[in-house]
Symmetry: C2
Subunit: 369 residues, 2 copies
DNA sequence: CTGAAAGCGCTTACAG
DNA sequence: CTGAAAGCGCTTACAG
């Protein structure tokens, strides 16, 4: 007859199996496993041989239960296909790995309700900490999470309450520098297209935009400002409206590179050349911004560093929650202006009214290659 | 004196706490938790009230240990900032969520050695299955993983051995259709720039490219074919060399949209207009390919569907590993040609030698919405 | 329909 | 330096 198949693979070896084979107790196996110092080297060697012979692979689930720590971080983003989140997620996973942590990726797909659902799932899974890439200025679910004592770290956006650990760009300054840059190029009619006023990032960039106008003695025009939502379609809609105005702006500050790309698309669709007829600047410095066919003037917010700081920060919080309970870890990164083609600064012919260029000291970006 | 602070939050409630409060056994609490049918409704209500009163949150780690299943999937990609992986990861996370599964994201950052390391970590964490976005044609670590019986699913690329469950694009057909399309536009001098010959995706696309040339009676020119590596810099290098040849090709088939974008950058740097002087086509249909300023002719490989199928497939495998042991689940998706600007087909003025256009029946792509 | 008991695979005081 | 025992928070036959 046929040889019976080997089904249900013999259960994988446990500490007990190793202990039996090495003629020691399970406690000793555990000590070897965890590089506990005081184990006789002869015993240690015997245990290690047994582990090798059995191809023993420790069960992290059991260890998590016993130690009450999972060495797992939850990462909640609104859209991993947004290069902003992809770049930060890469840095987060990488940094976590170097510290022996694993990352559960949660993507809300821009559906706000899913955030609370994911937070609940992560808490049931007993992650050691939660990193949130987007919160609303008013966000009860996140306030409750903070209240609960679960270590968490916000990045990119913060709460109006000012609570929580976070790492964000100095968004006000980013909006102000971009606007000043355009003012310096001679623009006086400058619009702003953002995502949502309920997000600190967009709201603060807009405040920076307004501040720069005010400082230059330019009166803000409310009809030049739109904050409709986060999808590309809404950004396009806003661009279409603003650019159809009889006295349309000669420059647009977009609250992100993605929004800026939508604006450029619509401008070209409407027969406006960029930067000839319309200057456009963004924020993020996503890879595409550097592309030859785009060359978007933007602000770099150092995404890899932001991701790294988020992880290193939350690991500190996990180690010593008390310490950060009353004085949260709040980091603000300085923006770096990257001057490229779409603002018109590099193409004197396109600069309006022949103003002399007065660039601030900036990193002139090319490819990020 | 000051009110003493509440530190180390009283340990979160367990089944025992709920059981005590509801005056039932822990087994009964567990039954209610798992919607076990035969529980008296009065008892069920009492337990539910107790859970609510205590804000009980089941411990998924303990449950995993007891049930020997984690409802967690591992996802290993080479670079989450590559839109291909970001798009598929989004679909994978989304599909997993609807089935109650969570996803651990592993990003090897294109460092091959990290793949084996991540696989080991995932196995220790006792994930129920592993999804791999990239394998080499010759990949011993993955062969061993398959041997081990751990449920796994490859996507995008497969093994030369043909083993394993996978969902891939019909890459040969994709390469062939793109090349035929260019041949149909009059091109006879067509180059191919791929990533690595050791990856099934690029290798099969190149085979399709060769097949199309052969079928058209065009002799393949080895100096027009480059497969150097996966980074943008290597793609640029290859483009620079091929386009500097005295008898440079009039069209390039790139093995991915990212490679195509690099080729376009170099072409423009060298003063060649696209598609006037050089037609370029890619594969993937990443969001950027649709952008106004690019309009890349490409092949859609239905990334969201690929991700969804990968998850649904691996869940089937997890449910019934025996069934797929001998006849693996292997799915091949049909490519969809998306004709845009960069091939020159939409701009008769740019079509070489005034050939009459003979487009295959295709989905003419615009924006992806 | 419900409970007592054993078990999942580790870790960790506590003795010695 | 090492072992016996208890415990982490669940689930699951097995009785009744």
């Amino acid at each position: 007859m046929a040889v019976p198949e080997q089904r249900t693979p013999i259960h994988s070896p446990t500490v007990s199996d190793v202990a039996r084979r090495a003629c020691v107790s399970r406690a000793t196996v555990s000590r070897v496993l965890n590089r506990y110092p005081h184990v006789r080297s002869e015993v240690r060697a015997r245990v290690e041989r047994a582990m090798a012979a059995l191809a023993y692979r420790p069960d992290a689930v059991a260890r998590s239960l016993a130690r009450r720590e999972t060495r797992t971080l939850g990462l909640v983003v609104t859209d991993i296909t947004n290069p902003f989140y992809a770049e930060t997620a890469a840095a987060i996973v990488k940094t976590a790995r170097t510290h022996g942590y694993t990352v559960i990726l949660c993507d809300t797909d821009n559906i706000p309700e899913l955030q609370a659902e994911y937070i609940e799932v992560l808490r049931q899974r007993r992650v050691d900490g939660i990193i949130l890439g987007s919160v609303f200025l008013h966000d009860p679910a996140v306030e409750r999470l903070i209240d609960s004592g679960m270590p968490c770290m916000l990045y990119n956006r913060r709460l109006r309450s000012g609570r929580g650990n976070y790492v964000v760009l100095d968004n006000l300054r980013a909006g102000r520098e971009l606007t000043r840059h355009l003012l310096g190029l001679g623009h006086r009619c400058i619009g702003f297209i953002g995502t949502l006023a309920g997000l600190s990032s967009a709201a603060e960039r807009r405040r920076g935009y307004r501040a720069a106008l005010r400082e230059a003695g330019v009166r803000p025009q409310p009809q030049f400002v739109h904050m409709r939502g986060v999808t590309p379609e809404l950004a396009r809609e806003a661009a279409r409206e603003i650019l159809a105005l009889p006295d349309r702006p000669t420059a647009i500050v977009a609250s992100s590179d993605r929004v800026a790309l939508s604006v450029i698309e619509i401008a070209e669709e409407m027969g406006l050349s960029v930067p000839g007829d319309l200057a456009v600047v963004g924020v993020d410095n996503i890879p595409m911004a550097a592309h030859q066919a785009i060359q978007l003037t933007t602000v770099d917010q150092h995404l890899a560093e932001m991701g790294r700081l988020a992880v290193e920060g939350i690991l500190d919080v996990i180690r010593d929650p008390e310490r950060y309970r009353r004085s949260p870890l709040q980091q603000v990164l300085a923006p770096t202006l990257i001057v490229r083609r779409t603002c018109g600064a590099l193409d004197p012919g396109a600069a309006l009214r022949g103003r002399r260029l007065r660039l601030p000291a900036v990193h002139k970006g090319g490819s990020r290659g």
